[in-house]
Structures are given as C-alpha cells and as structure tokens.
Amino acid sequence: MSVLTERRVTSLVLLLVGAALLSQTFGQAHSGLGAFSPMFFPRIVLGFWVAVAVLDIFAELRDHHVVTRPRLLRVTVIAVASLAFLVSMTRIGFFLAAAPFAVVALVTLGLRNPLSIAGVAVGVPAALVALFNHVLTLPLPTSPFAWWF
C-alpha cells in the first residue's frame, strides 16, 4: 500500500468509526430526554467528529504528500513485542516479560553486540525491580515462580 493510499484509508476508517459510534447514540430509550439523556453530549461530539472526518477525506484527496515509507517489519515487530510485554507483565511478572521484550526490541533496532544486549535486557529490568520492589516497596508484578522477581 502506498503512503498516499495509507493516509486516505486511515481517513476513511476514521470517518467510518465515527459514523458507527454516532449510530449507537440513536434509538435508545432515553433519546428524547434532551440534556438529561446520557447520549446528548456524545451525539454532539460524534456529529462533530463525522463532519470533520468528511472534510479530512476531501483534504486527503486533494493533497499529495511526500512521506517516506516506514520500516514496516521493524515497527510491526516492536509494536507486537511491546503489546506482548504489556499484556504479559501482570501475568508472568515484570522481569520475565521485560527481558525478552528488550532482547527482541534491541535486536530489531539494529544492535548486535550480544554482551550489551544481554546486559541491558537483564540489567535494566532487574534494576527497576530492585528499585521498586525492594527499595521503594512499590511492588511491580512479580513472577509466579519467585517472590523476589
């Protein structure tokens, strides 16, 4: 997908999401309650969203931006690794989730020195766990295997 198409598709998705959400505000039991209705303000906001999204699509169709293509593989790996880290840190503990994330992210970002990668991937999460769990006593999630990490 070209960068230009990517921008137009994003604009279209924003319009469709806004319109879908706006449709949710109609047909509810209390839609006639005026300012008392829970949907009173969201309807105004979503109406505004849809109107501006339409303008945005027109602007995108007229404009021809020169934007560099992203490193798609690199950004996808970092995004997935970040999400996996964020979801798993409360289940397997901060340290066990952070160390593999750091290894994957550092390798993906082009770092190749195994000693530095291992040092940062283990050292930084370990230092954070030590600081928060054992010094500040503000516990980060720990693993199901040992209380101290």
Partner: protein
C-alpha cells in the same frame, strides 16, 4: 499569596523538599538533553516515582523535571545539533555553530544564564497572575465554565501543527474518549460495549503515555533516518563575563517578555515563543548579521523565551484548569492523580500548597544555573547513547508509570493500543495534543453544558442571557477560531500581488 510564603517555605525547605528539587532538576536536564524524550515524556516517565510522595514534594518534583527538561534540550541542541526538545530547535541555529568553533562551553554558559533568567521571570508571573485569574473565575457558574472550556478548546487551533482539520478531528476523538464510561449525571454506562473495565472510562495517563511516548518509540523505529550524534569537544560550562552582557540586556528583556506573554496564551507553546523571540532578536539586534553563525544574541533570545514560557503556561493550567499544550495537559492529569484538582476552586481550597508550588517553581529556576553547571559535563557522554537503548528504556519506564497509577492490567493494554493508534494517526499528520486536550476538557465541558441547559429548561436561546462573562468568553472563542481562517483568506488574496 505573598503572605502565605512563610508557610510555603516550611513545605519546600525540608530535606525531602530540597531533595526532590535537586533530583528533579537533575533528571529533567538529563532527560531533556536526550533527543526524542522531550518534556512531556520526561514528566510522564517520572510520574510513578511520585505516587508514594505527599502532594507538595510530588508536584515540585514534576515541576523540576518540567523546567529542567526545557533547559536540558539546549545541551543536545548545542553539542550535537539535535534539539532534545522541540522548544530548543531555535537554539541549534547559533548554539551549534559556536560549539563547532570550539566555544561549546561558552554557548552553554549563555544558554544556562538566559534559561535561568527566563524561568525566574516566569515564576514571578505565575505567582502574580494566577491568583488574579483564579479570583475572577470564582464567580463562575456552569454557563461561564462552559464558555471558558469552549475558549480553552480553541487552543486546539494553535496546537494543530500544519493541519487545522486534523487537529479538530483529533480534538473530536479526544472529546469522545472523555465520554466513554459512566454518564456524569445519570451514571449510566456509555460506549463500554459490555467491558466492565470501561465503566470508569479510559485512564487518562495510559492514553497520554500511549499517544505520546509509545507512539514516539514506534515512529522512531519506523524512521529510516539514522541518528548521527557527533559530539563536539566540551569540557564544561563557561559563564560569559559580565562585560559581554553589555548591549544584550535589552534583547534579553524583550525575549523574556515575549516568552511570558506567549506562555499565558493557551496552546502557543515554548517552541513558538523561542522562534518568535529569535525572529525579533534577528530583526532588532545590533549583531543581526552574525545570526546563524554562532551569535550569543540568538542563543539568549531562544533560551530565555522558551524557559519564560514554563511559568506562563502554568497560569491557565493552575488557575482555570485549562491545559495550554501537551506538557501542561500531562501536568494537569498528574495533579489530579495527586488529589489536586486544578481549576476555579484550586487557589481558594489549597492556598498554602499553591504558594509552595509557585515559590518552589522560583527555586527550581534559581537552581538551573548550579545544576546545569554540575550536570552538563556528566550528561554530555549520554548523548552518544544508541537510540535503541533509549527506546527500550522509554517503553519499560512508561509501562511502570501506567501500572503504578491503578495497578490495572487493562490500563497497560490501553496504553499499548493507544500507542499503536497514536503511531498511525501521527503518520497521518495528526497532532496528538488536541486529542489529549479534548479528553481532559471534555468531561467538564459536558457537565457544564448539561447543567446550564437544565437551568434554562433546555433552551439554547436563554443559555447566555444574563451571563455577560460567558458571552465575552464565547466571543473570544469565536475570534480565536476565526483567526486562522482570516489569515488564510488574507494570504490567498495577497498571493496574486
């Protein structure tokens, strides 16, 4: 406010108080110097460290990080020609050429003194202006509050870097995100789609950190530009001799006034102030021919103006609860997390705390000079840090920050998703500050509008009758919205000539 200073001093000048000011300023300088982190991310990263602190030290720590990071941005601007924060972009223009000819220490000396003076004046402005504004706002009912928030939302126009339509769209998305969860009047769930975690709405900080910090990490990962940080030789800050200030004081005063004036206007920001001040100095300085080649007047203009913005920007944030930009939006969220609700009642309900915050801000700016001299030399090698390490560190610290707010796994997921959506929208050219401003101001806008309509029996015609302050505020809002349109119209009609 002045009469509360002795009580305020008892909150600041404790071991904890001095400790957080020193530590916060130091961390702020270091984080501000690291390209890509910026003031907003720096404040968000430090937030978890404040959660166990009492109100005054916690808020002072964050203010110290804020002020320190604005100054810290000049270190990388001068030493590696890469502004650590957007507000230091103008500093590169004369700072780096000075560094290239072997005067890096002197360039940092000029920027340090100018930053300190700019920051100190802004602290005085904050101390004097915020209580006056808050006193005026004490008379506000729901209709005036609605008009005020509407005016606050118009700052979206000025923070919509490049595209007004995209800025407004981001603002609309932010307003909608503020609607998710329980209805503030009836308590009924809205847009939760059966997810009980959404009953209390999206966690503001998770969204803020996602759309600013995590999306920044993804943008940098996606970028094809490899950062080349060639550090010039630097052996410490050299303060400019007093005689060198001759002929430059007038320019300094002008830059400080520009910074303070722009700071108070919601949504204008330190980067704008720095460039306007630089342009004015370039127009009026006797050394204007040397601008861009390493002229101290250029450095003084940009650094004094961007630091002068810090206090000014806090005036509407603290007194009216209106964040002027992304940094003050994060500060606003942070204050709320610490049980301090910025806005109309803030000054009346917490006079001693506010006096402590304002006078602490003065002390922070006073400390920029010694802390800058102490930290700069040690921080310089950090500028050689590979980007990969920095990005991983940002993700880890942001996760810690979001986790500590409520300990809720759902917030971490929100942060991750907000980061990915933020990345897509920022690639689209959509600014993220309007989204946060919409999300912060949305709930108050909704409550005041609905309360106002209930008072007037649902009549929009009666809404503003008998509320002259609200009428003036709405007129100002319309004026603010019209300015870019008038500008565009004038530009279009001037073009054929």
């Amino acid at each position: 406010m002045i009469e509360l200073l002795p009580q305020a001093a008892s909150l600041i000048f404790t071991i904890e108080g001095i400790g957080v000011l020193v530590l916060g300023t130091m961390l702020g300088i270091i984080l501000g110097a690291l390209p890509g982190i910026g003031s907003t991310v720096a404040v968000a990263m430090i937030l978890p460290f404040t959660l166990t602190m009492s109100q005054a030290p916690a808020i002072l720590l964050l203010l110290a990080v804020y002020a320190g990071s604005v100054y810290g941005g000049s270190l990388s601007a001068i030493l590696i020609n890469t502004p650590g924060t957007p507000q230091s972009a103008a500093t590169c223009l004369d700072g780096y050429p000075m560094a290239q000819r072997g005067e890096a220490g002197l360039a940092l000396g000029w920027s340090t003194v100018a930053s300190m003076i700019g920051g100190l004046t802004s602290a005085v402005v904050l101390l004097l202006a915020a209580p006056q504004l808050a006193a005026l706002a004490l008379n506000f009912g729901p209709i005036e509050t609605f008009a005020l928030i509407l005016l606050g939302l118009t700052c979206i126009v000025s923070v919509s870097e490049g595209s007004l339509v995209k800025g407004l769209l981001a603002g609309g998305i932010g307003l909608f995100l503020g609607c998710v969860g329980g209805d503030p009047i009836t308590g009924e769930a809205r847009f939760t789609f059966g997810q009980f975690q959404l009953i209390s709405g999206f966690n503001l900080l998770a969204v803020v950190i996602g759309v600013f910090a995590l999306s920044e990490v993804l943008l940098r990962a996606a970028s094809r530009d490899e950062a080349d940080h060639g550090l010039v030789s630097f052996s410490g800050i050299v303060l400019p001799p007093l005689a060198a200030w001759r002929g430059r004081i007038k320019g300094l005063i002008k830059s400080v006034a520009i910074g303070n004036g722009i700071g108070i206007l919601p949504g204008t920001g330190a980067a704008t102030a720095a460039f306007i001040s630089y342009a004015e100095a370039q127009r009026s300085s006797p050394n204007r021919k040397n601008f861009g080649k390493g002229e101290p007047d250029g450095l003084i203009a940009s650094e004094s103006a961007n630091n002068a913005v810090t206090g000014g920007a806090l005036v509407p944030t603290m007194a009216l609860g209106i964040p002027g930009d992304a940094i003050t939006a994060v500060m606003l969220a942070t204050l709320t997390l610490h049980g301090v609700t910025p806005g109309i009642r803030l000054m009346a309900d917490n006079p001693v705390l506010i006096a402590a915050i304002f006078s602490g801000f003065f002390v922070i700016n006073l400390m920029l000079l010694p802390m800058g001299m102490l930290v700069a030399k040690g921080a310089a090698p950090l500028l050689r840090l590979r980007e990969g390490y920095m990005l991983v560190l940002i993700v880890l610290l942001c996760a810690v920050g979001v986790y500590f707010v409520r300990g809720n796994p759902f917030d971490l997921l929100v942060m991750g998703v907000a980061g990915i959506i933020g990345f897509v929208l920022r690639r689209q050219g959509m600014p993220m500050a309007p989204l946060v401003i919409g999300m912060v101001l949305g709930p108050t806008l909704e409550i005041s509008l609905r309360q106002g309509l209930i008072i007037t029996d649902g009549s929009f015609g009666e809404f503003f009758r008998g509320h002259p302050i609200a009428v003036v505020l709405v007129a100002l809002a319309i004026g603010m919205l019209s300015l870019p349109l008038i500008g565009a119209w004038r530009k279009k009609h001037a073009a054929p000539e």
